[in-house]
């Protein structure tokens, strides 16, 4: 049986380790009783301490499993002027300390131990670890807090009255010194917390803040190292966030499924070894217990214990970092095995620091989320305004024809756009495009695409060639950000009644004419822009009806959904066009009717994607093309116009 006593400083402490059997437990407790008696604890208090130690040690012996029976039980007493702390460390599977302890039924022969401990001590905590558990029992001392089992009167005073006064004086001095030391310790903790809080106000670097705070904690508790793990937002694992030494960083720990719960587990649910499951590492044990868990890497032969990276024999405790009921992470803090285990006061300070840290982490995360949300909103506004600027303020006027476009943006801005460019007196280029992506990047690419079409239409002789050139220019930038663009280019020469079109993965072009079948789809399959570096596009030539028209749109129209989740669909769109396109008629009228039809279909359902379409209809025989203000437009693309 190993014994050691320490009377340094203000308190006195003693510990005894004994083999796991009842007789040795009894004599171990007797020696601790003698120690307490020797440091001046009165007979009136001794019975309660002895009884609680015996009950705890008996439990430790009687509940030890096969491996635990070969390990010693450790019992410790620490006597301060104002309180006594008792600790018993067992190697049992552990149990969950009951929330309530009723007076045991008189019919029961056994099972009164926990009730006696709870009744006789002021404070009881059962800290469960992966290899061992510690029952900590505390009781205040002093005239205002007499022990319940104490006799009503103190033992008879010493024969010499002066000795009595001296003893009382020494008691008072010890009590005052103890209080002063505790006050000093607490004030140091508070000032460290205030200092770090002030620093956090100046920075949002959470990692640096946590390291600074926990370095202060190491200093305060005379600890050697710490490992702080946090649960990243939307994840269910503990990731090392800060450590006193980079070598302490280890792999992430997946959280058990039950870890996210907000209420404590039922008693017994956590004794992993009872269910035959492997004993969890100390950090996960603390998560499951929702309470501080002590560990001793030396007594845990399990090499999977991540805290063994702090040393083969290091001990300390893991404190779950909790914000109310929400688990934020874990804080492991330890010392070398040759040093004292953390006292109750130190464990309390560790808990206070971790609570403070949890509040700061949650606050900072909320602030970051708010900033992020503001940025997203701001970005959406920018994207909206870019996109609005893309839509032409006016469309070219074409003699005998009418041109109208519609663009409506969803809340999540996409990259739909349309454009119409007069190439000559009798040719016009119609463009509808859709950048696959959202927000500012999509709007930016739509801007670039629109500029490229305008610039390159002067040099390209065919719509397929124009698409190929645009793809060459955009491929590198689009593929770098995993985006692509679908587009439909249509050259209309109304003098020669020809329509030439090329598509890059876009919706089919619709030709409008007058007759038994006024609607015809012209599918022009092609690779979207930005998917392959070098694409040879194909183009299709069709005859413009007399009177004739064309209709271009983005997939937002056919993918529009109503409140029942039904798509508007290609067939419904074609039917609508068939029923409403009565040439000759003004395009603007059709545009307004179709926009109203799409609104009616959608009802109250939110708009999921942008919608853009462009309609060209013949109103009278064509003479010449004019721009939006009505002035004559010069040839923008002689090469292209000639090719038509």
């Amino acid at each position: 049986m190993g014994e050691s006593a320490n009377r340094e400083g203000l308190g006195a402490s003693s510990r005894v380790a004994f083999p796991c059997n009842l007789a040795d437990a009894r004599s171990g407790v007797r020696s601790l009783r003698e120690f307490l008696s020797g440091v001046g604890v009165g007979e009136d208090e001794l019975f309660a301490y002895e009884l609680c130690l015996v009950e705890a040690c008996n439990n430790a012996v009687q509940n030890a499993d096969a491996a635990g029976q070969n390990q010693p039980v450790l019992a410790e007493v620490s006597c301060q002027p104002d309180r006594v702390e008792l600790r018993v460390t067992d190697h049992t599977p552990g149990f969950t300390w009951p929330d309530r302890l009723e007076v045991p039924s008189l019919e029961r022969e056994r099972g009164r131990g926990l009730f006696i401990i709870r009744s006789m001590m002021d404070e009881v905590a059962y800290e469960r670890g992966s290899a061992e558990n510690t029952l900590i029992m505390r009781k205040g001392r002093g005239p205002r807090d007499p022990a319940p089992v104490a006799a009503p009167s103190r033992p008879s005073p010493p024969p010499d009255a002066l000795d009595d006064v001296r003893a009382q004086l020494a008691d008072c001095r010890r009590a005052i010194n103890g209080m002063a030391r505790e006050l000093c310790f607490r004030s140091e903790s508070l000032s460290a917390i205030f200092r770090c809080a002030a620093e956090l106000g100046r920075t949002s670097d959470l990692a640096a803040f946590a390291r600074r705070l926990l370095d202060d904690l190491l200093h305060l508790t005379s600890a050697d190292w710490f490992v702080l793990r946090l649960i990243p937002p939307q994840e269910s694992q503990l990731v090392v966030f800060a450590a006193s030494n980079p070598a302490l960083g280890s792999a992430s720990l997946a959280l058990p499924v039950s870890a996210g719960r907000t209420t404590p587990a039922p008693p017994g649910a956590e004794a992993a070894s009872e269910t035959g499951l492997p004993v969890p590492c100390a950090e996960l044990a603390a998560v499951m217990a929702r309470n501080a868990v002590r560990f001793d890497t030396g007594s845990s032969p399990d090499s999977n214990e991540p805290l063994r990276s702090a040393g083969a024999s290091s001990r300390g405790l893991v404190q779950p970092v909790l914000f109310g009921d929400t688990l934020v992470g874990t804080l492991a803090i330890g010392r070398g095995a040759t040093e004292e285990v953390f006292s109750g006061l130190e464990a309390e300070v560790i808990r206070t620091f971790s609570e403070f840290l949890a509040i700061q982490i949650v606050n900072l995360r909320q602030r970051e989320e708010q900033v992020h949300n503001r940025l997203v909103t701001h970005e959406l506004e920018i994207a909206h305004s870019i996109q609005r600027s893309l839509i032409p303020a006016s469309l070219p006027r074409i003699s005998g024809f009418d041109l109208a476009g519609s663009w409506e943006s969803a809340r999540q801005v996409g990259g739909d756009f349309y454009d119409a460019i007069a190439l000559s007196e009798h040719t016009v280029l119609l463009v509808v495009g859709d950048v696959m992506g959202k927000g500012v990047p999509a709007a930016m690419f739509a801007t670039i695409m629109r500029g490229l079409v305008r610039a390159l239409s002067n040099h390209c002789h065919q719509p397929a060639e124009l698409l190929g050139r645009i793809n060459q220019v955009l491929y590198r930038d689009l593929s770098a950000v995993n985006m692509f663009i679908t587009a439909q280019l249509v050259f209309v020469d109304h003098r020669r009644r020809r329509v030439v079109t090329a598509g890059a993965g876009h919706c089919p072009l619709t030709l409008i004419s007058k007759g038994a079948e006024p609607i015809a789809s012209l599918t022009t399959a092609g690779t979207p822009l930005g998917v392959l570096p070098d694409v040879r596009y194909r183009q299709t030539t069709a005859t413009l009806g007399r009177p004739g028209g064309v209709f271009l749109h983005t997939d937002g129209l056919i993918e529009a959904r109503n409140a029942a989740g039904e798509f508007y669909g290609h067939d419904r769109l074609m039917k609508w066009l068939r029923d409403h396109c009565r040439l000759p008629c003004p395009a603007e009228h059709l545009r307004n009717q179709l926009a109203a039809e799409l609104h009616r279909f959608r009802g109250d359902a939110p708009m999921a994607d942008d919608q853009a379409f462009l309609i060209l209809t013949e109103t009278q025989p064509a003479k010449r093309i004019r721009n939006g203000s009505g002035t004559r437009v010069g040839l923008r693309s002689p090469a292209l116009a000639a090719s038509l």
């Binding site: 019975f47 007076v103 056994r110 006696i116 006799a151």
Partner: protein, 101 residues
Amino acid sequence: MKIQNDGQKLCVSEIPELSAVNSDQFRDDVQAAMPSSLNVIEIDLSQTRFVDSCGLGALFALYKSAGHNGAVALRLLNPTPPIQQLFELTQMHQLFEIVRR
């Protein structure tokens, strides 16, 4: 521990403690000594310095076996104040007749 049997009364005394270490033995010894014509068991606790929950359990076992033998009174003599308070805390003072002489 001393056990005296006068045929109707069993007197148990000189019990230094009743703990997990000796309570089973105590219970078995007293039960073995119970005469068939027993009226009362007196357990003198005046020299007992310590009782734990196992000791309480042994006293309870005697109370039960005495009761099964037919309305035998179990009398505890002169427990020390801490032990008296332990009986009260666990409400076991309701089972036994506690006598001070």
